[in-house]
Amino acid sequence: MKPLALLLPIAWRNLWRNPRRTGITLLVVIVGTWSILAFDIFLAAWAVNSRDASLRVLTGEGQIHAPGYLDDPSVSHRLPARADALLAALDSPLVGAWTRRVRVPAIIRSEYRTRAVTLLGVEPAKERMVSDLPSETVAGRYLKSPGDAGIVLGRDLAQRLKTRVGKRVVVMAQADDGHLAEAGFEIVGLFGASKAAEDEFCFTGLGTAQRLLGIDDEVSEISFDSGKQQTIRDVVARLEAAVPAVEVKSWMDLAPLAYTIERFSQYYIAAWLVIMFVLMAIGIVNTQLMAVFERTREFGLLQALGMRPRLILLQVVLESALLIGLGILAAIALTVLSVAPFHRGIDLGALAGGAELIGAGRMLYPAMSVADTVRSGLLVWLFGIAAALWPAANAARANPAVAMVEP
């Protein structure tokens, strides 16, 4: 005998004997599973958005510095100009993209005001591969080459300095030899980003910054993204092994808020899954216990006719498995319908201030992952079946002698 072939059709027909109860249980499973899937997707989008909002400003997935730079980001802590082992590692498949920067504290002065900023000398073409700021130019232009002598400021900083594109500012920073280097720059562009980024960062060409600071071809930092199929932890470990004389940090160390948000969203999803599952389990157990209670005589009759108790257990479990499976499929369809309207992203423009406070960028991009959906669906299905074991065990314990009793 093939128990599944025998019992599946019966289990399916039994589901529809009480359409109202089946409908209520289905609704519980659909709403519960949908909320798990939808929260998973939107929280994951928020986590990715928060991470990208932080990482795609300047951080990248990781950074390399000379020892001591992170504690004292002055011009004296520099990476060597020609480090063959480092360049070989950066050009290997470990790393997807990388760029060099000079990054030092500086003072910027317009004809009206003076502000403390961070001056960055960058290679514009390579910078675009690890940072979104070059694409966020809101006035004028971005830098054209490492030798570009112009400066790009944040929009907010320009307002604070009461200056604009086309005007000049003076930048002062401590040079390698200890004297206060100073140079005038024409503002060639303004970028838009978070207020903090707009206030803090000023960009000029890498060569221009090196000349100002007197440091030949040396740089302060290298920012990189990991290669395909690489995890950032592996990349950091292998870069550290390849070049022990430098400090390699992952974004988790460099942007702890973004990392905390990502971890928080994972814990939140797990907690939500547990809460929703407990609620669903109560619903499933309650309705299945009721169904079993109402059919006590029927289960006794089946035993009286010679059906083994474990087959009765299997039949009730199959009924639950079909019911929960159906609910999960409907919930997946509902999730697709819920997420599809947002495939071009959710603009948090109206909440920009608040979104920035919680570390999120302007756009959320919710995306359904087949693997995550299957994993969550399978988890709910298996836990649901486990919850149905109790009523099923009750059914299997039905007394066959009740078949003799007139209801």
Partner: protein, 233 residues
Amino acid sequence: MSPIIQCRAVEKVYRQGAVPVPALRGVDLDIERGDFASLAGPSGSGKTTLLTLMGGLDRPSSGEVAVDGQAITRLDSTRLADLRLHKIGFVFQIYSLIPVLSAIENVEFILRLLGLPQAECAIRAAQVLRDVGLEGLEQRRPSRLSGGQQQRVAVARALAPKPAIVLADEPTANLDSRNAEELISLMAQLNAASGTTFLIATHDSRVIARTHRHIEMTDGRISADERIGAAGP
């Protein structure tokens, strides 16, 4: 030839709270192969309890019950289920069909539990339904069959596995006289034609009159056991 069912000093005591209520008080009874027997007696005399113990649906408080030579008193629930499946057919007072299955599927279900191939189950189930006069109604669900038709399906289901004995508990209690008469005729005919053993617990004098052996119970004991005619072939 050994009896199909042997009961020796069978006692059954139920409890109502702390009060013991004896239902059977030392029953000794043999049901022979081919018997077409009625088990009669007033309400509370122990008919249904005895049938329950003979069918392995419950265990006696003391004494022994053997079915086809096998002592069943100490079998676990799985072995008892197997024994009922292979050796005993039941016809209950209410029709007791599986409501989501059609007439033929109700019969096939038992045959498939026995592990028979699906094609053979379908052929045998159709044959048994023809034998009980339900040709043309095979695909109807119980809710679309009359009480008499449902009880015929129950008889067909009981007979399909070719059991050693059919135990029927008040099978005509919920039928009108015409259907009751037809059902008892059918069972008598099956006993005569195939030698299937029937033990029918009943109050119905028309049923008692058609059986070949009258067993009478009073206060949990066998008070009379009279053989009227020959057992089936």
